[in-house]
């Protein structure tokens, strides 16, 4: 039981990841899908950030004394991934705007019906 609670950060990661993934699959609205995708990606950011944490560790700055500090590398990595996530969201939004202009709707169902009736 205690290991279950000790690993709470990973449970949150899995929980969020599954929520995001479910939204991507289940939602028919293109914007909502992207929101789901964002939650999915954010969950992975949490995975990276929490894996760098050292218990009792400080920020990785040189200070007097022999302080233990958290691993800064995963944080740096995830900064890159956040930038990628922002770029993906921006591109998706731009696409959705153009889809809306072309189809007049952003519901997946309606788009399929319009394409099928061609």
């Amino acid at each position: 039981m205690s290991t279950f609670i000790d690993l709470y950060n990973y449970w949150i990661f899995i929980f969020l990841m599954m929520i995001g993934f479910y939204i991507v699959i289940a939602q028919g609205n293109l914007v909502k899908k992207i929101i789901g995708l964002n939650i999915f990606q954010t969950a992975v950011f949490l995975l990276y950030i929490s894996m760098g944490k050292v218990k009792g560790g400080t920020a990785p700055i040189i200070v007097a004394g022999d302080a233990s500090y958290s691993n800064p590398l995963p944080h740096v990595l995830i900064l890159t991934a956040i930038v990628v996530g922002v770029a993906t969201t921006a591109l998706a939004m731009a696409l959705i705007i153009r889809i809306r202009k072309a189809y007049g709707t952003i519901e997946e169902q309606d788009i399929h019906e319009q394409d099928a009736s061609l």
Binding site: L37, A92, L95, A102
Partner: protein, 500 residues
């Protein structure tokens, strides 16, 4: 001096040229800049392949930060070979790009088109050259984001939804890869592939490593369009501008196959990868399913571009089938088909670009009786199609031959039958196009002229390459066999042209 920087230079060249494109307005200048960047990268890739063949692995350390802390680029024959495929296809496709893009893409988007194209090339080359696992993810996203943008430039509005669908599936795949890399970092504290390979055996028993491998495998399979994760591919290839279809069909999935090979054989090790998961069975079954289902779907398509997109999924089935044998001839078949399939699909999609240029569409109704009006374009489709079927004297025969050899070696005679049946299905869908083009009379298209020379020349360059490499196999088979031995950690035969 410069020769020691070649591994990074081939990535930097298109990366610098991409933003410069945005500053230019004239179509010819844009084209010249992009083409020279791509051609430069191709020359470098050729030099790297020579170097890697003669002196083994080339290690390049970015910014003087020594590996495993800094980012390392490692060039061996495997990725030098993939680099050459990507840059060669990109350069030949670009030859035709000017004319085709001027017609298919509105003028205000030209600079963005070339910029995205070069960024996509940068990403693909970066994925291939790097030896840093996280770097793979970053370059993967560079190439993916730019390819979403490229696909959305298609004239049909369905290009937008195709691009959106690819974006969602591609991002899920890339995030899976990110999770896998994160778990590996958690276990070992390193991101350098070589370092990972040394440290992973110590933690091989953990469930974390198993899940890391599973996440990476699924993520890469999505990018590779492994059946049944191929759903994004047919729409993306169908509605993208023809130049983009030719470029992506020749390069993007090939690079994903390379990443799969790299992770299976270099990072995890074949022993681990094939024992913790039933990888041989998975790859074999999915490969066979891809060959059968995708080829059957191809037969029932009404749009020729879509037909060849499904055929691409089937060909990826042959490629993964080759990996599943875990033998020298199987892997050689995979590596050969990477090169050969890139050649034939690029040639076919370029021929479709010629058709689209004259007809504005590539449905069967558009090509009725066009064989007489556009003989060169149709001959290109016929030869490319024969190569797809695997007729002797074309490249398709070489890879099928090795694949069948690999199947016979292990006594899988059912697979031999399936491979031959797949070729038969390919013959059926290629024949449908020939029938429409040559034996179907139509009065609508009597005034149609042959495609312009600037489109035909690059197409025929690829078609002739299909025949050339089907007869003179010393380069492709030499590299493929050498690399297959090296991947399986067997004593490698000396590369042709290498100094002992």
């Amino acid at each position: 001096m410069i020769s020691s920087h070649l591994p990074v230079l081939q990535v930097i060249l298109p990366l610098i040229a991409a933003p410069l494109c945005v500053l230019l307005r004239r179509s010819s200048l844009l084209w010249l800049l992009s083409f020279s960047a791509s051609l430069g990268a191709m020359v470098i890739a050729w030099l790297l392949l020579q170097q890697a063949g003669s002196s083994g692995v080339i290690s390049y350390i970015l910014g003087g930060w020594a590996a495993p802390w800094g980012i390392e680029y490692r060039i061996d024959t495997l990725n030098a070979y993939v680099l050459l495929i990507v840059t060669a296809i990109s350069s030949v496709v670009l030859l035709a790009a000017k004319k085709s893009i001027e017609q298919e893409v509105p003028q205000q988007h030209w600079p963005m088109f070339y910029a995205s194209y070069l960024l996509c090339l940068t990403g693909l080359l970066g994925i291939t050259a790097t030896a840093d696992a996280f770097n793979v993810f970053v370059f993967l996203e560079i190439s993916s984001l730019s390819s979403y943008a490229l696909i959305s430039l298609g004239r049909d509005r369905r290009a937008l939804t195709a691009s959106y669908q690819y974006l969602v599936m591609g991002t899920i795949g890339a995030t899976f890869i990110l999770i896998g890399i994160g778990l590996l970092y958690m276990l070992t504290g390193t991101l350098n592939m070589n370092d990972l390979a040394q440290r992973l055996p110590a933690v091989a028993q953990t469930k974390t490593m198993l899940s890391a491998f599973a996440f990476l495998f699924v993520g890469i399979s999505l990018k590779l369009a492994l059946f049944p994760l191929h759903l994004w591919l047919p729409n993306a290839y169908t509605y993208a501008p023809s130049i983009v279809s030719a470029f992506l069909a020749g390069t993007a999935t090939k690079v994903a196959v390379y990443v799969l090979l790299r992770f299976i054989f270099t990072v995890f090790g074949a022993d681990y990868a094939f024992s913790v998961l039933p990888l041989a069975e998975i790859l074999m079954l999915l490969g066979v399913a891809a060959i059968l289902f995708a080829s059957l779907s191809a037969i029932y398509q009404d749009n020729i571009k879509r037909l060849f997109a499904y055929s691409s999924v089937a060909q990826l089935g042959y490629i993964t089938l080759g990996i599943s044998f875990l033998s020298v001839s199987g892997l050689s078949a995979t590596l050969l088909h990477l090169f050969n399939h890139a050649l034939m699909k690029a040639a076919l999609f370029m021929a479709l670009a010629c058709l689209l240029y004259r007809q504005g569409g590539v449905k069967f109704s558009h090509v009725k009786g066009l064989g007489r009006q556009m003989p060169w374009t149709f001959m290109a489709i016929v030869i490319g199609g024969l190569s797809l079927v695997g007729v002797p004297l074309t490249v398709g025969f070489i890879s099928k031959w090795y694949l069948i050899l690999a199947a016979i070696e292990q006594g899988h005679f059912v697979l031999v039958a399936i491979i031959l049946f797949g070729s038969l299905l390919a013959l059926v869908y290629v024949w449908r196009i020939v029938e429409q083009g040559f034996f179907s009379a139509s009065d609508d298209h009597t005034d149609v002229k042959e495609a312009p020379l600037s489109l035909l020349l690059p197409t025929w360059l690829l078609v002739l390459a299909n025949i050339w490499f089907g007869i003179d196999t010393s380069l492709t088979v030499g590299v493929a066999e050498h690399t297959a031995h090296w991947l399986l950690e067997l004593p490698a035969p000396v590369m042709p042209g290498a100094t002992p």
